[in-house]
């Protein structure tokens, strides 16, 4: 309840756009979907940013200046445009952090770019966000292409060895929900599978609102798919796992691209015994070897202290890590103008395995962090544990789906 009141107050303050704020504070925008269907993970993402900023303020702020956060709530692209306009004009923020959802990010970054305000994307994965030649958009998290490549590569690098066969002998199928997320990831998966010469037997899109996935499963069964790569939200993940079992379809491996695969709710709805062995490529999750991701345990503690629950997904962690890197860059910049920030961001050089997500940070000309890679995880005994790459792993990869 306290959180709610605080949030309401923050929103109120944001609306009244107070010039009474201390002159020396640095104002930054936080643009996420706080209401509507994306609210759950939008809010989860925001918590990572909030923790990073609190940490920074506790340590004296940005070169002695306090950081003030102004929230923007966007449910659809039109609102994202509106909120981005508000943040850049009324609230005159120095930078904007966001956004969790790719379509919101695409819309909001167009505004920020024209307004000349740096936009720090911490969670949206759509590649074009950093492929439009914008000068002021930076992203710390891995993109859909990186996700897709990691998934396809994992078939050869992790799954096939565990099965003791050659990757080329495996029949691979791609299934995905047909909104932006699924369509994008699956597109790159197809390209990558072709590139590395995997035997791709089916690519099946479906609506995330589907109430019956048996046609998909029967097609996979008919095609004799050994490995299924799924890009899905929560409902369709649950449906897929339940119906896969019911239809007696037992592939050698199933791998998700985050989304519904990363959520504890999904595992509970499906049942831990049925989710056993499901692979998942996603942002760094909490059962990761702290040696590869220093600071991860402290983050969880801080999170629990502030919000009273365990983190609901890795989104908060990714946002936390990205915010920290970029706040450091802001601190290093000679002032907070866009060119100075660009210079500072381009100078960032963080080696892999030194942040709470285990990612490094080095930005290319387009603003994309080239040292961010998702890890391969697996549901084992009701826990999502990191299994690949080896130095981040806390468990061995297992084969098969469902407990015997």
């Amino acid at each position: 309840m306290k959180v709610l009141i605080k949030a309401a107050l923050a929103a109120g303050l944001a609306l009244s756009a107070a010039p009474s704020f201390a002159q020396d504070a640095v104002r930054i925008g936080a643009l996420y979907p706080f209401s509507g269907g994306l609210a759950l993970l939008g809010d989860e993402s925001f918590r990572g940013l909030e923790l990073a900023i609190e940490e920074r303020n506790a340590a004296g702020g940005l070169n002695g200046r306090k950081i003030e956060m102004v929230r923007g709530d966007a449910v659809d692209p039109n609102q994202a445009v509106g909120e981005a306009r508000r943040l850049t004009s009324v609230d005159k923020v120095s930078v904007i952090f966001g956004t969790y959802s790719s379509s919101l990010s695409l819309a909001a970054t167009q505004v920020a770019e024209l307004a000349g305000v740096p936009y720090f994307e911490l969670g949206a994965i759509s590649d074009p966000i950093t492929e439009r030649g914008f000068k002021n958009v930076y992203r710390t998290n891995p993109t859909a292409r990186i996700f897709a490549n990691r998934m396809v590569d994992a078939v050869a690098e992790a799954v096939a060895p565990a099965l003791g066969t050659d990757a080329k002998s495996l029949k691979v199928a791609i299934i995905h929900e047909d909104s932006l997320y699924g369509q994008t990831v699956a597109g790159y998966q197809q390209a990558r599978a072709k590139e590395v010469g995997l035997n791709l037997v089916e690519t099946l899109p479906y609506s995330a609102k589907s109430v019956d996935l048996t046609p998909v499963i029967l097609r996979l069964k008919s095609a004799g798919a050994d490995v299924v790569l799924q890009t899905s939200y929560q409902n369709d993940t649950v449906l897929f796992f339940r119906q896969m079992k019911e239809q007696g379809f037992k592939p050698k491996a199933v791998m998700g691209a985050g989304g519904g695969y990363s959520l504890r709710d999904t595992m509970q709805a499906v049942g831990p015994e049925n989710m056993e062995g499901a692979l998942n490529v996603d942002f760094t999750q909490y059962r990761t070897n702290p040696k590869a991701a220093p600071g991860i345990e402290e983050f969880v503690k801080k999170y629990e202290a502030k919000y009273g629950t365990a983190p609901r997904s890795g989104h908060s962690l990714a946002n936390y890590m990205g915010a920290k890197v970029l706040l450091d860059a802001m601190a290093a910049a000679k002032d907070l103008t866009a060119p100075a920030i660009r210079e500072a961001v381009m100078a960032v050089d963080v080696t892999e395995g030194t942040t709470a997500t285990g990612w490094g940070a080095k930005f290319n000309e387009a603003g994309q962090n080239e040292r961010a890679t998702p890890f391969l995880m697996q549901w084992q005994g009701g826990e999502l544990v990191t299994v690949f790459p080896a130095d981040a792993a806390v468990a061995e990869i297992k084969t098969g789906i469902g407990a015997e």
Binding site: A7, A11, S35, D73, P77, V81, R85, S103, L180, P205
Partner: protein, 611 residues
Amino acid sequence: MTVRVSLSEAPPAGRLAALMAWLGNPRVYTSLAALSLILVIPIVVDSPFIVHVFVTICVFAGLSTAWNIVGGYAGQLSLGHMVFYGIGAYTTALLIQHFGLTPWLGMWVGAAVSVAVSVFIGYPCFRLRGPFFALATIAFLEVVRLLAIHFHGFTGGSAGLIVPLKLGWAWMIFQDKINYLYIAFGLLLATLAVSYAIRTSRLGYCLTAVREREDAASAAGISNTDVKLKAVMISAGLTSLFGSFHAMYLTFLEPETMFSLANSVSIAMFALIGGLGTVAGPLLGTVLVVPIAELARGWLGASANGLHGFVYGVVLVLITLTLPGGLAGTFGPRVTALIDRLPGRRVAPDREAPALRHIEGTPGEPVLETRDLVMKFGGLTATDHVSITLRRGEILGVIGPNGAGKTTLFNQISGFLKPTSGTVVIYDAEGRPVTPARADEYARLGVGRTFQIVQPFGKLTVIENIMIGAFMRHTSVDDARAAALRIARLVGLLHVKDVEARNLPIGDLKRLEVARTLATEPSILLLDEVMAGQNQTDTQKMVELIRTIRDTGVTVIAIEHNMQAIMSLSDRIVVIDSGKVIAQGDPREVVRNRRVIEAYLGEDFVDAQGL
């Protein structure tokens, strides 16, 4: 805030003077002043966020106004209107991407595509009524959205299309946001002007007529499908233009937003809240709801997910329960009354009525023939081989007991029923025999009919009701009004000319039925029991009126139960019983016919009276 003034009301003396006089009308200057606030407030406040809110208002008000042309004026509840918005947006964006075509041209291509699609959707769907039309439009929207996702090679699929950020007027992309507002405001003004022009034109009246009563509209020569198609084409084109503009504004398109069911419902809701079928309603609804929704999301949205949506839903239900007329419908008359008290009101002078249509032909020649008309409903034969000939200039009375098939006969000779067998022949101005296909074609050929159960357009005033008929021969509103006034005077409805038809007593409604039909200036007039419900003096007046009409060259065929009246009026009588013509000829002889008396009073009566 319905504004009922028109530019063309001005006298022809001098454009400038006319414009000044028009601007001097308080309804005009208050409306313009209120509208200009949409432009003035953001310029004065000078904040890009406020500009954004007002751009959003302009876009949604424009979409809602365009929707209202179909949903309000024509009464066709489209809940898939964003399909045109999406088509406009995608066409424009794809043309930029593939051909480097400026959106200023692309938007017109988009509009053209939307208009074509609207005909494709509208033509088959207009046969559906009420909720089924709504469901069909939703289905079309969903199909288009799913196809846009599926064919991602062409549309960019769910990943969406990104509009290249080429700045400048040529590409409709600006660093300075106020430029967007200029365009949005311009589009809104244009849409309001179109909406206003339709509302006050022949098309607007025809749409209202079709919405209220399709049959009466057909009888007034209006082709229901044609006017609905016109409405949906205009609406789709305008909606599409807003889609194109909004795509340039958002610079990012995805099927979920472009073909959104939620937004389709929203624009309809704005019109409902503001007042369906009024010019100002959709704008009012949007101006009220959009800022409140923006604020509510700020205040409520952050504190609890769904609270503002819940409040929004509850408010909608409450509005339907308490203000079914919307803001404009409920408060409009009072506000306009207040505005009219402002200085400067100008009363348009009455016009000279245009000349009546001249009816050619020789008295006595056949003008309409039926040949062996048979009409079967299930097992019932309503008309059984009816062959009658109507001669120019006569008054033919049709009598017969209830349920004898008289009205069924009328329905066949006015095109409302297709005979099971047999033919109806009308002789046109050149004396050629023709058989029209639809009721509105009969009407345009000069067959005017009244309905036994009166069919007034309840929410229109008496004079507007008559104008619906007058529009068949007069395209201009002023001519139609003048012609309608002449008819109102003729039938004795002048004293109630500004009363809404639903408030008339039955006698006046019967006269209105005649007046609307007369306004179509028919050469053949079909009167179905117009004396019923009239008192003695009114009946007398009606008899005289019918004679007067006949004297202008009109041929009359009348069904009547008031025997005294019909006997004294008719030149000839046809008696129908159980679907058959049992007697015809001179009135005096017909009533002495034994079969006729039997049909009316029963066989026993005839025996008892020894007739």
